[in-house]
């Protein structure tokens, strides 16, 4: 699991150097309930990525800090994106779930999108990155 994230983080590093005409995306994660484990962000540039059919264009992992955390990247070209966030409290690299698959750890999506009978759709979570953009995302507890 951590290997996967290392790989995606590597991809992120490549992106940082490749895109010259990049825009600035600021992501503010609110409602971080504790400093246990890590905050994991996935930046998704297509519906296929959003649906898990292909790898995220970028991923960021940081030690959790209680309250508010801010992430900034200048590496992304203009376009449509969505963000998926989870608070991996026990640091196992996964969103732990209960016996029937309901998440036990906090999660959220860009636009604070929530789904009807499940996760939100790409249409609800996507946003345009053009110039500077800020996404304030509150984790669900």
């Amino acid at each position: 699991m951590k290997t996967l994230f290392s790989l995606v983080a590597g991809l992120y590093a490549i992106l940082v150097t490749q895109f010259i005409a990049a825009d600035t995306l600021r992501v503010v994660i609110e409602n971080v309930a504790s400093s246990e484990g890590n905050i994991m962000l996935e930046i998704l540039s297509t519906e296929a990525e959003f649906n898990g059919e292909s790898p995220a264009v970028a991923a960021i992992i940081q030690r959790a800090q209680t309250g508010k955390m801010t992430f900034t990247t200048d590496a992304l070209p203009p376009g449509e994106y969505a963000i998926r966030v989870m608070h991996d409290k026990n640091g196992n690299g996964e969103l732990d779930s209960n016996f029937v698959g309901i998440p036990k750890e906090p999660w959220a999506f860009s636009n604070n999108a929530t789904g009807k009978f499940g996760p939100p759709k790409w249409q609800a979570a996507k946003f345009a990155l053009d110039g500077e953009s800020t996404q304030a995302i509150a984790l669900n507890q």
Binding site: I102, W107, F117
Partner: protein
């Protein structure tokens, strides 16, 4: 499994069973539901039972009439949807309201009553916000807050369980809610102990109708709509999970009650399919009745949940079963209140919240037989056509074993004279061996609720005991608790404990002896 896939799979069921948008039922404005209900109450004063509670708690000593049996001591706990309006928003289905747990305590010096709204996460969040926030079973308030887990919208409003000295208020799509037995104060969501990682059972659906064997072994089920799963619970008398099961169920439907015998679990899966049909629909409205499809009959071995098979019956809707048992030849017998369709839930229990009386197909009691070796199922009516029946129950000491007697609420739809209200109006006992049925018909001014058989403490199973049940006297504006001689229900109540107020019509209860 990748993080991403896990993440998606987890979220796929996060909102299972929950709606997050507005209800489709809003052909009239939301404020209109309260206005329409108020206007209808002028015409139909018995609608008092569906008005809903304003108070968070009730407490009083009951006034006794008749002779209360000296040996009958203990507590009748009851639950039901009670708060039907939140900050001006009136719910659009009877099953939506916040649960209120009641305790009728019977002691040598009389009967006392107290009741409290279950302080669920949902109730507390809405009190803090000063408005209705969350989608309920059949309706959704304006600008609903996102639903992130089933327990965020758990209203703990259907039933109550007393097991391993815990008092639990039950919903059916999330965790049981633990209550203080003496004060009825809310302790919070309850997680059974298990050999699983922490919180693994938090929010896992636990139906409102667990079956408890005479030795205290508990069985239950739950359905997870979006994950298309049926969950099975096996819990020992000390409240520890022995095993859990997950059975894929596609299409997934709504299941309210089930049957447990000596060796098997039986679940009737009606063709009320969960087919999310787009935005703007409540959880209930995302279910679709498919009368051309079969009711699947799932038969599961208690010892090994992996061993199961399906049989088929014609489309039907059974809210409640009385009891099930199995003979040495592997023949299962059980009884249930069988309606041809769920129109009562889909239409009547919705419309009554705006005071509209909508006809529905009533349930008639049926007997079922499953041959587990030949894998065949059959059904037949227990009584003559036209006897509407519901809330079947038995002496709890023969639960999941052969029962001789049945207790149920009913209404003779063929009678020339019908009461003013639309509810059931009688309590009846039935003896399988003699075929005799005895009935007490309530006065028209009273709407009886579920009645239970309470064994005499020194009696053998299915012999001496009482029948205990509540009723709403809508003319007097009082809730009553009646006690009958279990062998002579037709003679009417031995005694009545009258409360100085109305408790909204509720659902299910349990008696706990002193």
């Amino acid at each position: 499994m990748t993080t991403r896939r896990l993440f998606l799979q987890s979220l796929a069921v996060a909102g299972a069973g929950l709606a997050t948008r507005t209800s489709a039922a809003g052909d009239t404005g939301r404020g209109d539901w309260a206005n329409q209900f108020a206007a209808a109450r002028e015409q139909h004063p018995w609608l008092l039972g569906y008005q809903g509670i304003q108070e968070k708690s009730l407490s009083s000593r009951a006034t006794l009439s008749g002779e209360w049996p000296a040996d009958l001591t203990g507590t009748l706990f009851r639950n039901g949807p009670a708060q039907h309006e939140v900050a001006g928003f009136r719910y659009q289905h009877w099953f939506d309201g916040d649960g209120m747990l009641q305790a009728f305590r019977m002691q040598p010096d009389g009967v006392t009553h107290n009741a409290k709204l279950v302080a669920t996460h949902k109730l507390l969040a809405e009190e803090k916000a000063g408005r209705a926030l969350y989608p309920a079973f059949g309706s959704t308030p304006p600008q609903p807050a996102p639903v992130t887990s089933p327990d965020a919208v758990n209203v703990a409003n259907i039933s109550v369980l007393h097991h391993h000295n815990k008092l639990l208020a039950l919903w059916e799509a999330g965790s049981p809610w633990e209550m203080n037995t003496k004060t009825l104060d809310t302790r919070g969501p309850y997680e059974f102990t298990a050999d699983l990682p922490p919180n693994s059972l938090s929010g896992v659906p636990f139906s409102a109708h667990p079956r408890v064997e005479p030795d205290g072994t508990l069985w239950n089920f739950g359905y997870v709509s979006n994950a298309k799963l049926l969950v099975l619970w096996h819990i020992n008398p000390a409240g520890r999970v022995v095993k859990m099961g997950r059975i894929p169920m596609d299409p997934i439907t709504m299941v309210h009650d089930f049957i447990v015998t000596q060796n098997h679990i039986v679940v009737l899966v009606p063709p009320l399919h969960f087919e999310p049909a787009g935005d703007g629909l409540s959880f209930l409205d995302n279910h679709h009745w498919r009368p051309a499809d079969a009711t699947r009959v799932l038969v599961v071995e208690k010892d090994n949940f992996n061993n199961h098979f399906f049989l088929e019956l014609p489309a039907q809707w059974v809210f409640h079963f009385g009891n099930g048992w199995e003979d040495k030849h592997g023949i299962i017998r059980f009884d249930g209140a069988r309606a041809p369709d769920p129109s009562l839930m889909l239409t009547s229990f919705r419309d009554i919240m705006r005071g509209q009386i909508s006809p529905a197909r009533h349930a008639e009691h049926h007997q079922y037989r499953i041959d587990t070796k030949q894998r065949r199922v059959a059904e037949m009516p227990l009584f003559a056509q036209g006897l509407s029946a519901e809330f079947p129950s038995i002496d709890p000491r023969v639960s999941c074993r052969r029962n001789q007697r049945l207790l149920f609420m009913c209404r003779d739809m063929t009678a020339a004279r019908q009461p003013a209200h639309t509810g059931l109006n009688a309590v009846a006992t039935f003896d399988y061996a003699s075929g005799q049925r005895h009935t007490y018909v309530y006065p028209d001014s009273q709407i009886p609720e579920e009645h239970l058989f309470v064994p005499h403490p020194a009696s053998a199973p299915e012999t001496r005991g009482w029948i205990l049940g509540t009723a709403l006297d809508w003319q007097q504006g009082r809730t009553l608790l009646n006690v009958f001689d279990g062998a002579r229900v037709e003679e009417g109540p031995l005694a009545t404990a009258t409360l100085p107020y109305v408790v909204p019509l509720g659902l299910h209860g349990k008696f706990v002896g002193a």
